[in-house]
């Protein structure tokens, strides 16, 4: 599998950027309620990582995982409708923003519980190994999640059973509002992961090509029976943790500005040149139209609240 072109990466990243801009507007106008976790500044990680996966590979992500969901190939219309709580959403409006599932694209869920998607992807990798179906599982989580005990339990078992898993840790330097050094006794995440007996690699998470390259290597290793890999993608969220956080009370404006200048979309646009603007405009338009369609979609029938508890 060849690396996608710069243009293709930019299209993916610009789609996520546009989606989040639209959702922010809806949230500010009160048309979208509840927590909205944005990934502005982190767009290169999902774009690079998902490009190294096949549509049938397994994926779990977090409440901040809209970019993974789109890059994995899930329908923009279905995702938007779910986020807006519409009957036409991926889960008919029942799951919502934090719980996006699309089994037809290997998406075993974004998750509202910090670290909770890690175990399920290891389980999916167990299926892959037992069925010899050739699939791998990738789970993405934050630097904060790596302190959760069950994340470590899952990493240990993935190494123990030599399962085809990619543990992709997006290190954006903060867990909600807490900086890394205030929540980790050892801030070297690679050491913590490699202690379980797996390769642990750090990568510039703001460069989709580099992310693609390391994930691709890990995917190949997993497919060939070589077991799990841990990847730490260094990145930065240039907006608040969620809609109620400006993101400025625990970080300096200089720090945020520096990362904004280094944002993956800026970097990639500079590399592409004048065509970049056109790609971004197209993504904006595509997403805007999809938002209009989703807003016009029907709400679920209240009676459906009682349906679907059991299979």
């Amino acid at each position: 599998m060849e690396s996608p072109s710069a243009e293709s990466f930019l299209r993916q990243m610009a789609t996520l950027q546009a989606l989040e801009r639209e959702l922010t507007t809806l949230s500010q106008s009160g048309r979208l309620r509840g927590s909205l976790h944005l990934a502005q500044g982190q767009e290169a990680v999902p774009a690079g990582a998902c490009a190294a996966l096949q549509p049938s590979d397994y994926l779990t992500a977090t409440y901040r995982g809209h970019g993974y969901v789109l890059a994995k190939g899930c329908s923009l219309d279905g995702v938007l409708a779910e986020i807006l709580g519409k009957a036409t959403g991926l889960a008919c409006g029942k799951g919502g923003k934090m719980h996006l599932f699309d089994l037809s694209h290997g998406l075993l869920g974004t998750n509202g519980i910090v670290g909770a998607g890690v175990g399920s992807v290891v389980g999916a990798a167990l299926t892959a190994k037992m069925d010899r179906n050739g699939r791998v599982g990738l789970t993405v989580f934050g630097d904060g999640a790596i302190n959760q005990g069950h994340v470590h339990e899952a990493m240990n078992m993935a190494a123990l059973y030599q399962l085809p898993v990619i543990f992709l840790c997006e290190n954006n330097l903060y867990a909600e509002m807490t900086p890394l050094h205030r929540s980790h006794g050892n801030v070297n995440l690679l050491e913590r992961a490699s202690s379980y007996g797996m390769d642990a690699i750090q990568v510039d998470g703001n460069d989709p090509f580099k992310v693609y390259e390391v994930v691709k290597k890990a995917v190949d290793l997993g497919r060939s029976g070589g077991g799990p890999t841990f990847i730490e993608a260094l990145t930065y969220r240039t907006v608040g943790h969620y809609q109620a956080d400006a993101g400025t009370s625990y970080r300096t404006l200089e720090e945020i500005e520096e990362w904004r200048q280094n944002s993956p979309i800026k970097r990639l646009s500079a590399r592409i040149g004048p065509d970049a603007e056109k790609i971004i405009d197209e993504a904006d338009e595509l997403v805007h139209e999809a938002v209009e369609r989703a807003l016009g979609s029907p709400d679920p029938d209240p009676a459906t609240a009682l349906q679907g508890v059991f299979a």
Binding site: G85, G93, H99, G112, I113, T178, L306
Partner: protein, 328 residues
């Protein structure tokens, strides 16, 4: 003499109680996620770090079982921890520590050890937080012997019950529905104002039907009573406040007067704590009842996301009125 009072929101009353208890006893400290530097996602711990410093306002990693276990150990050895769960839904990760350890230690050690700690945080649905973040956990904890569970509805009770929680020598689960934080009320200007556990409050007297609830549902009951009064149905509103221990006497007295009861709770109707209250009334007040005791609880489904579906699931004034009309 009636003590002077000040009008405060539930949240401000809670913060005032927390501040005063930290000032009163140096063994009291607070642990939780983003409670110090960020001052709490629901702002209950606002200003605490500046006032009390890092020794007593401890930001933790995102490790609910870890910090709950640590708090238990600290409580067993002389400190009085207050643990903030960012939401009670996350306390599910710490269930083993809470139910298998905190709740049992005094009993299992033959009384050698006590666990004077408070676990507090928002419990219940709030603005489309959907299936994983909308749990009402109080019924789970009230089910477990060894935990005291309180769920105040008013600012004064938030103040007096929180102080009582901190001074209690047992693990106390202090439940705050996100919908009550901004509700205002008069709070006594008394640093030793304690609302004892195991005492329900009658917030509105009535003779026709008893509406029994706690936390935010008490406000739903008050609003329903207001509506029903227009139609000549006179409801008594009983605010349970304390689930464990439970003040059955006040509840029974009300039922003996009205002969009809509706128990209202946001938790799943099936197996929620309102079912326990209803069963007790049924067992002990059978001869006083003119109608079956009715439960008005949340729908038995994971909380759906879409607003129209979420609204279906949470008991509201309309639902309470409907239940009352069934028996009256």
């Amino acid at each position: 003499m009636i003590a002077a009072t000040t009008e405060l929101s539930f949240r401000d009353a809670l913060r005032k109680a927390l501040t005063e208890e930290l000032e009163r006893d140096d063994n009291v400290f607070v642990m939780g996620e983003d409670i110090g530097r960020y001052q709490g996602t629901f702002r209950v711990t606002e200003g605490m770090l500046t006032k009390f410093g890092e020794r007593r306002i401890i930001d933790t990693p995102i490790v609910e079982p870890g910090f709950t276990g640590i708090a238990i150990g600290a409580a067993m050895t002389g400190l009085r921890p207050i643990v903030e769960m960012m939401t009670m839904s996350f306390s599910i990760l710490a269930l083993d520590q809470i139910m298998n350890h905190a709740a049992k230690i005094h009993y299992m050690t033959g009384g050698q050890a006590t666990v004077p700690m408070v676990i507090r945080g928002p419990s219940g649905a709030a603005k489309q937080l959907s299936a994983q973040h909308s749990h009402s956990m109080e019924g789970w904890y009230a089910h477990c012997p060894g935990l005291k569970v309180v769920a105040p509805a008013t600012a004064a009770d938030a103040y007096g019950m929180f102080k009582a929680s901190v001074r209690d020598d047992n693990p106390v689960i202090f439940v705050e529905n996100p919908g009550v934080y901004t509700i205002k009320g008069q709070v006594p200007d008394d640093v030793n104002y304690l609302v004892p556990f195991g005492k329900a409050a009658i917030l509105r007297e009535g003779k026709d039907v008893s509406l029994i609830g706690y936390s935010r549902m008490t406000h739903v009951n008050l609003a329903a009573a207001e509506e029903l009064a227009k139609d000549g149905i006179d409801c008594e509103v009983v605010d349970v406040r304390s689930l464990t221990p439970l003040d059955t006497e006040t509840i029974y007295e009300s039922v003996r007067k009205t002969h009809r009861a509706v128990v209202v709770y946001e938790d799943w109707k099936n197996g929620g704590y309102g079912g326990e209250i209803a069963a007790r009334i049924g067992e002990d007040c059978f001869d006083d009842l003119d109608a079956p005791v009715v439960r008005c609880g949340g729908l038995n489904v994971p909380m759906p996301y879409a607003r129209v579906l979420e609204l279906e699931c949470i008991p509201d004034v309309k639902d309470v009125i409907e239940k009352v009309r069934k028996i009256r």
